[in-house]
Amino acid sequence: MSLLRSMADGLRSLFRKEQVSQELDEELNGFLEMAAEQKMKQGMGRKDALRAVRLERGSLEVTKQVVRSASWEFLVEACWQDLRFAARVLRKNPGFAAVAILTLALGIGANTAIFSVVQGVLLAPLPYHEPDRLVTVWLNNFRLKSPTELSYRDFMDWERAAPPFEEMSAYAWRSFDLSSPGNPEHLEGREISSDFLSTLGVELALGREFSAEEDRNGGAPVAIISNELWQDRFGGSATALGKSIVLDGVETTVVGVLQPGFRFGNDYADVYIPIGQRRLVDANDRTVHDVACVARLKRGVSLREADAEMNAIQENIDRLNPETEQGLGAKILPAKELLVGDVRGTLLLLLGAVSLVLLIACANVANLLLARSAARAREFSIRAALGAGCGRIVRQLITESVLLSVLGGVLGLAAAKWGLNAVLATRAADLPRSDNIHVNATVLFFALGVSITVGILFGLAPALRSSRADLQPSLKEGGRGATGGHHLTQSGLVIVQIALTLVLLAGAGLLFRTVQRLWKADLGFESQHVLTFRVGLSPSATKTGAGVRAAYQQLLDRIRQVPGVQGAEITTEVPMTHQINSIPFWVDSHRPASVAEAPRTLGFITGPDFLQTMRVPLIRGRFISQQDTINSPLVAVIDSELARTYFPGKDPIGRTMTFPQVGDYRIIGVVGHVQHWQVGFSSPFMQNQSYVSIYQVPDRWMTTIDTWTWVVVRTPLAVSIVLPEIREAVYRAAADQTVYHAQTMAEIVSESMSPQRFPLILLGSFASLALLLASIGIYGVISYSVTQRVHEIGIRMALGAEKRDVFRMVVLQGLTLALAGLVIGVAAELVLTRLLSSFSHLLYGVGASDPATLVSVSAVLIGVAILACYLPARRAMRVDPMVALRYE
C-alpha cells in the first residue's frame, strides 16, 4: 500500500515536476517567512531575520535539493540527465561514436546470431506436450556397444510387458509413390503405431488418429497426411477427410491432417500409415531392426529407473528367443538427445569463439574510451572541482558506455538477423531443428543483456581511472595528465586482443588443414563424374520378384543407352549417405549362440556392375557377374577390411560366409575398402563391407527392395545435360516411374564434411573479424602513443636521430605488443585445444598443436601487426622537430 503510494507520488513528481517543485517552493518559503516573522517580532530587521533563519535552518535552495534527492524519482531523473548528456557527448564526436558502435555491433551481432542458433537448437524445448518426459527407447547390442532400432516383434513384446511408460509408440521410415490425386510424386512417409501422436501430445488439425483396429494386420488402408500435402492436393478443404489417395497403387483413405510444419524432431514426412498393417514377413522377422520407439515416461519415474525396468523386460525376451535376441539389452535416451544429436559440442564451441570476438571488440572500445578519457581529463577535473563526487563521474561514464553498447546492440541485432541467414545458408539442411531458429524474445533479451554487461565491462576501467585522476596536473594549462598509466592499460588490452585473435586464428587454421586433408583423403572409389538418384518402380512391376528383376534390367538398359553414360548400376548403399544395411554374418561354421552376438557387415546389395562403375579396385578373385543369378550358387565379394579381420593371413576366396535367413555365400573376390561413413572418420563399428548380387535376393524381399535402392551412373557430362535425358529414359521404361533425390557423388562427399566445414566457415569469419579488430586496436594504440610522444620524437630528431631510427622505434613498440600477445595466445591455444574435446574430435590429419599451423597463423598476425604500425610510424618519421618543439 505504502509502496504504491510512494510509486504514485514519485511518478507525480516526475511527470508534473513544475507543479511539485512550485508547491515545495511555496511551502519552504512560507516556512522561512514564518520563522523570520517570529524573529522580527523579537525586534530584528527583516533582512537580518531572514539571514538568521537561513543560518539556523539552512537556505532555501540547499533544502530543496536535500528534500528532492531523498526520493527515488530523483535517481531516475539523474540517470535521464546522464543519458541526455551522454547522447550530446556522442553527437559531438560522431567519428568516435560511429567506430565504437560499429565495433560493438559486429561483436554483439555475431554473438546474437550464434546464440539464436544455440537457443533454437539446444535450449528451446521440443514443441510437444511436456517434452522432458519424452524418451526414445532402443535395443542395446552389448557386443557392438551400440543402440539400434528394434524389430516390430520386439516392440509388441515390450508393449505387452507393462513398460514404465505412460504411452509408447513405434515409428518406422518408409517412402511411397503417390499417384492420385494430382501428378505422380515420390513422398517421404512413415509407419506409426496408433498412439504415436498422442504420445507426443500433438493435436491433429483435422480428423482423427488411427484406431487400434486399423493398427493391425488386415486393417482398412488409412493414412494421416501432412498439412502441406493437404494444401497441395486437396486445396486445404475439410472435405478431404474420407477421400482416398493412391499410395504405391493402393487406394488409401485419408482420416487425419496434421498441423502445419509438424515434424518429429528434424524428420519431415508427408504420409503416415499404421505400422500394424506391415507385411507379416517383415512384422514377424526379429532380425529386421527398423522400428524406432518413442515413449512418455510415467510421472515421477526417472530415466535410470525406466532403463533398469526395460532391461529386465528385454532380458526376459532374450530368454524366450535365444536364437535372435540373446545379448540384447534396452537403452533409454531423452528424446532431445536424439533429435538434437551431436551438434551440441560444435555449437557451444562456436558460442565460445564468438564471445572471444566480443571480448576483442570490447577491448577495442575500451581503448578508444581510454584515449578519449585522457582528452577529457580536464572536463572531469573541472566537474570534480565543482563538487561532483567520484561515484557521480563513474556513473556518467558508465552511462555513456552503456548507451554506446546498447546502440551497438540495436545495430548488432540487425546484423544478427542478416548473419543468421548467412549461417543457416552454410548448413541449413544439416542443422537439426533449423526451422526453429529465429530472432525471438529470448534472443532479444540476450542481446540486451549482453549489450548492458558489455557496456559496463568496457566502461568501468576508463571510468575508474578518470575518477581517480589527480586534479592538479590536468587542470594546469597544457598539462598532459596521467597518460603513462593509460598507456600501460592500453598496451595490456592490445596484448589480450592479440592473444585471443591468435586462438581464433589457430582454431580456424586447424580446421582449414583438416578440410584440406579430407579432400585429399583416399575414398576407396572415384567420386568424380558419378551421379546418384533414386527410382520408384511402377507398382505393376513390384508384384513379383521376377517382375522387379526385369524392371531393373529394363531400366538400366535404357539408362546405359543415354549418350555420355559410361556405366550405370543399382545399389542399396551409396557411400557417405548414412545408410546402414547392417547384416549379421558368420564365417564357415562359426555360428554364434545368438544372431545378436554375430559380427556385422555393411551389406551392399548391388547389380554386377556396381564396383566397376564406382571404380573400386579388385584385389583378388573376381567381381560379381551377369552369370550370378537367382538360379546359380550364392556368391559374395568382401572388402579388404573384412578379409583382414576374419581371414588373417589366409585366402578368403572359396570360403563361406553365412547371412542368417538368406543362406550361405561363397566368397569370390576381395576389393578395396570404401569410405562409407564420414570421410576420414572411422565409425566405431561396421567397417566390414560385403557385396552380394541384387539378382540373387530371394523373392520375398525383392518385391519391396525398390524403396531402398539407388541408381549410380558414371558420366563425364554435366548433371544439367545428362539428368533430363536420364529422366526421359526412365519414363520411357514405364510412365509411372519417378526419378528423385538426384545428387552427384561429389556433392555427397562434400556434404559429409559439413561437420568440419560449418565450424570452419564460421570460425574463419570470426577469426578474420578478430584480426580486423585487433589490427585496429594496435593501430589505435600506436598512433595514440605517437601523438603523445611528438615532443619526445622531435627532441630525438633534433639530437640527431635518423628518420629510420624513429620508424624502427615505433614499429618495434607495436611488435613487442604483438609478440607478447603471441606468446600468451599460443600457450592458451595449446591448453584450450587439449581441454576442448569437442574441437579436437573435429580434426583429421592434424594434431591440435600442429606446429605448421601455429607458425603460419603467427606469421599472419605479425604481418598484420606490422601493417597496423606502418601508418603511425610513417607519421612519426615525418615529425618536424621545429614544429614539434615550437609547440611548447
Binding site: 510512494s6 507520488d9 511555496e26 511551502e27 519552504l28 512560507g30 516556512f31 539552512g58 533544502t63 531523498a70
Partner: protein
C-alpha cells in the same frame, strides 16, 4: 515519532511543527528545514500523515499536515515500544 506526536492534537503546518518540537523539547531539538521536510515526505509516502493547503491564522497559505488513523496507530505502538526500551535501558544502567 516526534512529528507524529506534535500532530496528535491538531493538524499543523511545517513551521508550527518545528516550533512545537522546539517548545516541547525546551530547545533541545532544533531541526533544520532540510531534515524536517524530508521526514514529511517520508511519512506522507508511508501513509502516516496526509496534507492539505489551508490559510494560517496570519492569512498565509500553508500546507497543513494531518495525522491519519494509520499514523495514530503507529504513534501508539512506537510510544509503547519506546517506553519499554527506555525502561530496559534504565534498569541496565541502575543495575551496574
Amino acid at each position: 515519532m516526534l512529528i507524529l506526536k506534535t500532530l496528535a492534537l491538531e493538524p499543523m503546518h511545517g513551521y508550527g511543527i518545528a516550533v512545537r518540537l522546539e517548545q516541547m523539547s525546551k530547545g533541545v531539538f532544533r531541526l533544520n528545514a532540510g531534515s524536517l521536510f524530508v521526514a514529511f515526505q517520508r511519512l506522507q509516502r508511508a501513509g502516516l500523515i496526509t496534507s492539505e493547503w489551508k490559510a494560517t491564522e496570519n492569512s498565509r497559505r500553508a500546507r497543513y499536515y494531518v495525522l491519519t488513523d494509520q499514523g495514530r496507530k503507529r504513534l501508539n505502538s512506537e510510544t509503547r515500544e519506546w517506553g519499554r526500551q527506555v525502561a530496559a535501558i534504565a534498569r541496565i544502567l541502575e543495575a551496574s
